[in-house]
């Protein structure tokens, strides 16, 4: 009985394949349009996913807790002395002051991110070297001044191909010179692309921040599972200070990427809707030849449910192939062409466009998500037309 049923389904599948082949022009056109819709959705999904993965991966390098002073709801410089007040909190490994800001280059109309800190003071400062494509970060005891480590786009923007010095304007429009001692690797582009890392004192000089003040304090914690507890203690000790923890920042990124991806999906859903309408239209128009074919099959002993099964298999084969084609194309698009179709939408927050190398990971869940977006609506759109065609009465094959 089970064997018989299996054999029957195989026979019906065989017939569905041959039927698709007989109407190959129609099948191919549906396949291509459907494949294109899946391609758009899947690329979008893969890009946002790769981006958020990348952000997560890069955020590992950020401090566990960041402290910022808030005044009237806006951030302002935080006194270095605040760091001393934290001395009593157990579990803090180190407090590193940092100046983080944006430098607007009026000549090139671009924003650079400037980060000034004592690299040598960071607990894993030495490991930062691994993020560099060339050069080194300063070692402990090395108190060189006037150096900078820059991201890829800065090299281009400042046209540093043949030289390793450049100058930036202080607020009073005097020039401050820098020597490039390192360049970030392209792998960390999402965070470092427009970044200039420099000595804390140099940054203070560049932005003319008074002595004893920095923009934020980075707190490194000995045990990562205690982040929340320590963050709570800090916020009790320093009431006027905003305490940002790494997990929180990660979640914020996640929300932003999720939101962007959701927004993009909504836009793409209209494409899907158009396709579903097309699919419905294609499936519901029964030509006289198709009617005749179904009537013949039915008179020869095919049940209504057998014809429904043929239509079901046809839909499954078309959507399965479209998925395969669409997803493969999307993967190629994202990995080898860096998602060039969507980058303006997804990474529009910076004037300098990071030139990213993206590598999406595709778990079964993500594939299921794309299936839910595309194949399910398609199957649903074809079910009622399929039933209409399956209920063509057998006797219409009789007579003249």
């Amino acid at each position: 009985m089970a064997r018989h049923n299996l054999e029957k389904q195989l026979n019906i599948l065989e017939y569905a394949l041959s039927s698709l082949w007989r109407h190959r022009l129609k099948s191919l056109s549906v396949l291509l349009v459907f494949g294109a819709v899946i391609f758009l959705l899947a690329s979008f999904q893969m890009v946002t996913q790769a981006l958020s993965d990348k952000a997560k991966q890069v955020l590992v390098h950020t401090p566990e807790i960041t402290l910022q002073k808030m005044s009237a709801g806006r951030q302002e410089a935080i006194p270095l002395a605040y760091g001393d007040k934290l001395a009593g909190i157990f579990g803090i490994r180190r407090v590193v002051p940092r100046i983080w800001g944006y430098y607007f280059d009026e000549v090139r109309l671009a924003n650079y991110t400037v980060m000034g800190l004592e690299v040598a003071e960071m607990p894993e400062g030495a490991r930062l070297d691994t993020t560099l494509a060339k050069g080194t970060m300063p070692r402990p005891g090395d108190d060189a001044q006037g150096w900078a480590v820059i991201g890829y786009s800065i090299t281009n923007a400042l046209d540093l191909a043949g030289r390793d010095t450049f100058s930036l304007f202080r607020p009073d429009l005097s020039l401050k010179p820098f020597v490039v001692r390192g360049e970030f690797s392209r792998d960390t582009d999402i965070l470092t692309n427009d970044l200039i890392v420099m000595n804390l004192a140099d940054a203070r000089d560049l932005f003319a921040i008074p002595a004893g003040l920095v923009t934020d304090l980075c707190v490194y914690v000995a045990n990562p599972t205690e982040i929340e507890t320590i963050a709570k203690k800090i916020s009790e000790t320093l009431p006027g200070v905003r305490v940002l923890t790494r997990p929180q920042i990660q979640k914020t990124y996640q929300v932003v990427f999720g939101w962007r991806s959701g927004f993009g999906s909504i836009c793409l859903l209209s494409a899907l809707a158009a396709f579903v309408i097309l699919a419905w239209d294609k499936a519901s128009g029964l030509s006289p030849e198709e009617r005749r074919e179904i009537a013949i099959l039915k008179i020869l002993g095919w049940e209504t449910s057998d014809i429904l099964a043929v239509r079901f298999w046809e839909s499954v084969i078309v959507s399965g192939l479209a998925c395969l084609v669409g997803m493969t194309a999307a993967y190629i698009h994202v990995v080898y062409y860096a998602a060039s179709l969507f980058r303006p939408v997804l990474m529009g927050w910076s004037v300098l466009r990071p030139n990213l190398h993206l590598l999406p990971r595709l778990a079964a869940g993500d594939i299921l998500l794309i299936l839910a977006f595309t194949v399910l609506p398609y199957l649903a759109a074809t079910v009622i037309p399929a039933w209409r065609s399956a209920t063509v009465p057998a006797d219409s094959a009789l007579g003249g």
Partner: protein, 225 residues
């Protein structure tokens, strides 16, 4: 009795303005191994009668037993299940799907029965051999001659070894030679024990010596001269 109809009537669109009384009070029995011709002009109810015998739809009233099974008000599904075991159809213009190969056309009735491809091919080849068209097995049915097409249609009606063969105006679009050939094959099948009902108003059919009985249908009733 393989086919037993008593007081069979068929009304289309019952209870509506476009109600049509297609058959009224038909009594008909056909014994196993006999060949019967249903004669009558088009629109006489011949095709409706053939459809009831062929388990395509049930009669509106009366009793119809085909191969010892009562058809009255069986749901469509059960008519289909019964039809594919008992009835082989030969259509007017043969109703062959031109894009499928001869082999595929012949084995169409076997697909929903869950017959494996190997057995399907084997059964089809036996029949093709018997009708001398094995060399055409893999040709698209749209590319073979009329005589071959006719034999393909007959082979398809025999593929599941059904006891009853129904033919609906089989010779309407054939020349005399092919019509004769058709009747010759029917004669062979009759000799092999098949029960055959042919709806036709072609004298070549109803005057053929192999026909045991000719039933004339007129205005939905059996016409007794």
């Amino acid at each position: 009795m393989l086919i037993e109809l008593s007081q069979v009537s068929k009304i289309y669109n019952q209870g509506r303005a476009n109600e049509v009384r297609a058959l009224t009070g038909i009594d008909l029995t056909v014994e196993q191994g006999s060949m019967v011709c249903l004669k009558g002009p088009s629109g006489s109810g011949k095709s409706t009668l053939l459809a009831i015998i062929g388990c395509i739809f049930p009669p509106t009233s009366g009793k119809a037993a085909i191969a010892e099974r009562q058809l009255a008000r069986l749901p469509d599904r059960f008519l289909t299940l019964h039809r594919r075991e008992t009835i082989g159809f030969i259509f007017q213009r043969f109703n062959i799907l031109p894009e499928l190969t001869v082999l595929e056309n012949i084995t169409l009735p076997l697909l929903p029965l869950g017959v494996a491809p190997k057995e399907r091919r084997q059964r089809a080849h036996e029949l093709l051999e018997r009708f001398g068209i094995s060399h055409r097995a893999l040709f698209p049915a749209g590319q073979i001659s009329g005589g071959e097409l006719q034999r393909v249609a007959i082979a398809r009606a025999l593929i599941n070894n059904q006891p009853i063969i129904l033919a609906d105006e089989p010779t309407a679009h054939l020349d005399t030679t092919l019509s004769r050939e058709f009747m010759a094959i029917m004669l062979q099948l009759k000799a092999a024990g098949k029960t055959i009902v042919i709806a036709s108003h072609d004298p070549l059919v109803f005057e053929h010596p192999a026909i045991d009985r000719t039933v004339t249908i007129q205005d939905g009733r059996i016409h007794v001269p």
